[in-house]
């Protein structure tokens, strides 16, 4: 017999809430932030340097944003960053910068090359019945649990966390795959590829949906297709969160 923990989001009965209506559960992982940082970059300067040596021994999930003129953009409108991670570092690789700004990066404590499937425990949504929150606040080490700054918290039941449903990867023998998730809704996702056209083997960068990389979703599957050659190693994360509804 195992003991567990599940905490519903504000407004939902924890005994009736569907998986995605939970704030978190011991049945599946969240996405812990291992490290974060910033890097100021200057237009028309070429960079070829380590952003962070993580030393985790595996390729971690990561994400980055770009700040320009007091605006913070996901991924970047301005330039195509070649930022990749391998099993030792996060790297900014010879990017032709067209705007000055600041890269904001985060490295997560999760191996992106992990085959994992949490399964579905409760797929049927509960009706929202109560706007009060009688849940759980966990502050960061050294922070007051009564802080009004949301950045002082590890997790909170009155907020949504990114709950991981399924992760995995494919080798370079295929240009696409259909991934079964059976969530009952179109799920949110992140993709990474080891683009050996420009980087070395084992160096994974964020995959952009574009003319040559397409992602489609249904209630049961997530499908990616790369219309290029050679094919690339591809890793994915699927979250317990709909990509096209608030849910």
């Amino acid at each position: 017999m195992s003991a567990g923990l599940k905490v519903s989001r504000k407004g939902f009965d924890v005994n009736k809430a569907s998986d995605k209506q939970l704030a978190f559960s011991s049945e599946w992982p969240l996405l812990p932030i291992e490290a974060e940082g910033t890097k100021a970059v200057v237009k028309n300067t070429s960079y070829d340097e380590t952003l962070y040596t993580h030393g985790l021994g595996y390729v971690p999930v990561f994400m980055y944003w770009f700040e320009v003129s007091s605006k913070l953009y996901p991924i970047s409108d301005f330039i195509y960053f070649n930022i990749w991670a391998d099993d030792t570092e996060l790297y900014l690789d010879d990017t032709p910068l067209t705007s000055s700004g600041t890269i904001h990066w985060k490295v997560f404590r999760r191996d992106m090359l992990t085959e994992y499937d949490s399964g579905n425990l409760q797929s049927t949504d509960a009706t929202e019945t109560d706007s009060a929150d009688i849940g759980l606040l966990v502050s960061n080490p050294g922070s007051d649990v009564w802080s009004s700054d949301l950045r002082d918290f590890s997790v909170r039941s009155d907020m949504r966390q990114l709950m991981i449903h399924k992760t995995g990867y494919f080798d370079d023998s295929t240009n696409g795959a259909e991934i079964t998730h059976n969530l009952g809704y179109n799920p949110m996702y992140w993709f990474y590829v080891a683009n050996t056209d420009r980087n070395g083997a084992g160096e994974y960068s964020l995959a952009y949906q574009a003319d040559d990389f397409v992602v489609s979703a249904s209630d049961t599957t997530l499908t990616y297709t790369y219309f290029g050659f050679p094919f690339f190693y591809t890793a994915y994360l699927i979250f317990k969160d709909p990509v096209n509804e608030v849910g």
Binding site: W28, L30, P141
Partner: protein, 146 residues
């Protein structure tokens, strides 16, 4: 900056099924108080539908703004579903570019708002405004993290 986690913190830990919260690795934990996690206020997650206007000139169209008033620039992400796409239920994460016209959907945060923009651009002479009149559905998340 660098490591922000405190993996030796033992205040609140819940392991995944089959693992020990006391002896197993952080990667086998469901939640651990020594780590901060991405998190979002319920009121700062939403969807919006948008029809691309007929092209008249290169310009920006604001699709929506959402006020957060955090006082800092929070992280955000936004997905888009091409409701008229060639493939069923085709999705992308912003920014999304039209490879022919250079038109794009972008989003950003300021210290007070999340802003979703359609930038109408024609990269003449190659392009025609092929997104004109097309329908899109956006899902945005404004994180509390910065």
């Amino acid at each position: 900056m660098g490591v922000v986690s405190t993996s030796d913190d033992k205040l609140f830990i819940s392991s995944l099924p089959g693992y020990s919260a006391i002896t197993d690795d952080q990667e086998d934990m469901a939640v651990h108080s020594g780590f901060e996690y991405p998190k979002m206020d319920e009121d700062l997650v939403g969807t919006i539908e948008y029809t691309v206007p007929a092209y008249t000139s290169d310009q920006d169209y604001t699709i929506t703004t959402v006020t957060h008033n955090y006082g800092y620039m929070p992280l955000c992400q936004c997905f888009v579903e091409d409701l008229d796409g060639m493939m069923p239920t085709e999705f992308a994460i912003l920014p999304l570019y039209d490879g022919f016209t250079a038109s794009r959907f972008i989003c950003y945060t300021t210290t007070t708002q999340f802003v979703l923009i359609y930038k109408a651009i024609t990269a003449a002479p190659l392009a025609s405004p092929q997104w004109d009149g097309s329908d899109w559905l956006f899902k945005y998340q404004i994180w509390a993290n910065d």
